[in-house]
């Protein structure tokens, strides 16, 4: 099986659950305690994509939450093969931030495989995303996952899907 290493940046507004998503994906753990990320946290996870004959080593760059990219953030994003944009389903403004960050990242480094995670679906009482809004996001991002880092719902699906998109993109680029 071919081993492929890819850098993936996880970006989004502050306190949307980026670090929790990574923690869930890498260590299958979750903590209710909110701890602000400063700079960037780097972690790794290897996943098998048997249908593509690839074992992919994802180097995950969990970038500190922001609603706009500056030089520091662009430096973190350099060399990324894909992006995980994260929004908070209980704070509708964070979905707009995700869209804005995606546009800026693509402007700066070109279009890359990306998925949007609308996170915190476990907070049903505070959930504030209509089906119509989700359809709109789907049209913008192509791949949208309603996730819960707390329960783990759809987190692995989203990251695995991104890994597949990255591999497919690499294969397409080679051809």
């Amino acid at each position: 099986m071919t081993v492929v290493t890819s850098k993936v940046c996880i970006v989004g507004d502050f306190a949307v659950g980026k670090t929790s998503v990574v923690e869930r994906f890498v260590n299958s753990q979750f903590s209710d305690k909110y701890l602000t990320t400063i700079g960037v946290k780097v972690d790794t996870k290897e996943i098998d994509l048997p249908q593509r004959g690839v074992q992919q080593k994802l180097i995950l760059w969990d970038v500190a939450g922001t609603d706009r990219f500056g030089d520091t953030e662009f430096a973190y994003l350099r060399g990324a093969s894909g992006y995980v944009f994260v929004a908070d389903g209980t704070r509708p403004l964070t979905m707009g931030t995700a869209t804005s960050l995606r546009d800026r990242a693509f402007e700066h480094y070109g279009v890359k495989p990306a998925v949007l995670l609308v996170n915190k679906h476990d907070l049903t009482g505070a959930w504030d995303v209509s089906e119509q809004r989700l359809k709109g996001l789907q049209a913008q991002f192509g791949s949208v996952f309603v996730t819960s880092a707390k329960t783990g719902a759809h987190v692995d699906d989203a990251l695995t899907h991104l890994a597949e998109l990255i591999v497919d993109r690499a294969i397409a680029d080679q051809q």
Binding site: Y34, I38, G39, I59, G65, R78, L93
Partner: protein, 520 residues
Amino acid sequence: MSLPTSVIEHLQSDFVAESRPVCFLVDNEYRLVDFWGDGEWSGLADVPVGADMLEHAPYLFGTLGRNPQKLNYVSTTSGAVVHLLTMPHENYHYVILLDAGQAHDFLQEKQQSWNELRLMHSSQQTLVARQRDLITELVEAKAELDHHRRDIERSSAGKSRFIAMMSHEFRTPLASIINYADLALEPDSGPTEMHKSIEAIARSGRHLTSLVEAILDEARLDAGQVQLRERNFDLFELLDDLAAMMAPLAAEKGLSFATLVDPDVPCHVRADDVCLRQILINLLGNAVKYTEEGSIRLYVTYNDGRLVATVSDTGPGISVKDQERVFRAFERGSDRVGTRTGAGLGLTITLQLAKLMRGEISLDSLPGQGCTVSLHAPVAVAQDSTPDDALSPPDEASYATQQKTVLLCDDDEDMLALLEHYLHRAGYAIVTVSSGTEAVAKAVTFQPDIVLMDINVPGMSGVDAAAALRDRNYAGPIVALTASKLSDAEKNSFTRCFRKPAPMQQLLFEIKQLTHSLDS
């Protein structure tokens, strides 16, 4: 100015003490070529030359370029936080790690507070927005409640008006019943007067019954939903009834009364006779009420499927400006105010009933020249001359042909006596009781062929008594005979249900059917 060596050495010493720099050289494949510094804090101690540095420092991936780079605050998998500097050198890259843990912790503390504040602000904004939404919802709910309240008030007022209207309509037949009863009780009343009086009382009683039924009918409470109930009936008989009802009232005031029927008027017609009767009673009743001398005349014609019934009087008449008002609820002609009792509803009801019959009312009057009011309504000639619910006294066909026992339960002595009389004459053995408890006890003892049960009786209600009888394995038919309206669930307790006053012929026929079918 150039710094003395001692100062430079001091600065270098301070920098090295705080940043604990680590420097290593890697090739383009990320393999370690050389290493300098204390690697313990950075998790890179004892990494052998030639090792794949991506295994130990995966954050290097993608950072090696043609130009120097600096990435601040990179948290590594070993838990260290570093400032990462990469510098290309020939075919290699220098990588410098500076310990940023202390500065990171300081920044994180500040940023954490700031972010928590923003989150709190965001929650506050959400709450304010939610509060605004709730206030809007409250305002809307209040508006809706006000709307419903107004509806209820309108409905309540309508209901009160309807009850007032119906109360008004009771007066005429009640007056007829009382007057004829007085007449019958007079010592010099002969059998003929007696018989005629009782007939008049029966007619007015039937009319009152139809009014009561109308009130009790919940669907009719809303005047807009009254249903037209057409049936075949004898129009001449209705006109005779009206004459018999009105003539004595007119005579009491010294007025002459005449009914004129055009030869083209059919005898057997199909229409809502209750409506028609009510309209004509109202028009004639008003004429009698407001006329002090002269005559009252009812003239009936029929042309091209339309009946025209005209009531003329020689009363004070109504001015043109008052003619519209008299059809509104609670209003009369201005010259009549204070001169007569009543709710002022007769013509309002009349107009509504005429519209229900798809007809209209016309009024022709001038002050001092009497009043002529006409009903114009479509009335069909009946194909069948048999009235739909002809009332006739019980005949022998409804009598028992076998010895059967009826248990009769009613707390009204008159009703009990009346039913006992008819049942006895029809050939039934009778056990009478006046309470539900007694009915259950006697039914268990006597095992009657049928139980005829009033509902509102002392001790145990008729519904409960029926249930108790079934519990005690009484298998015969139980028939409800009540003035109350039963729910569907209550009706299920009985074999048949009759509303008082029930036509005796029908009741006897049903009793015969139920008791005699037991043997078939």
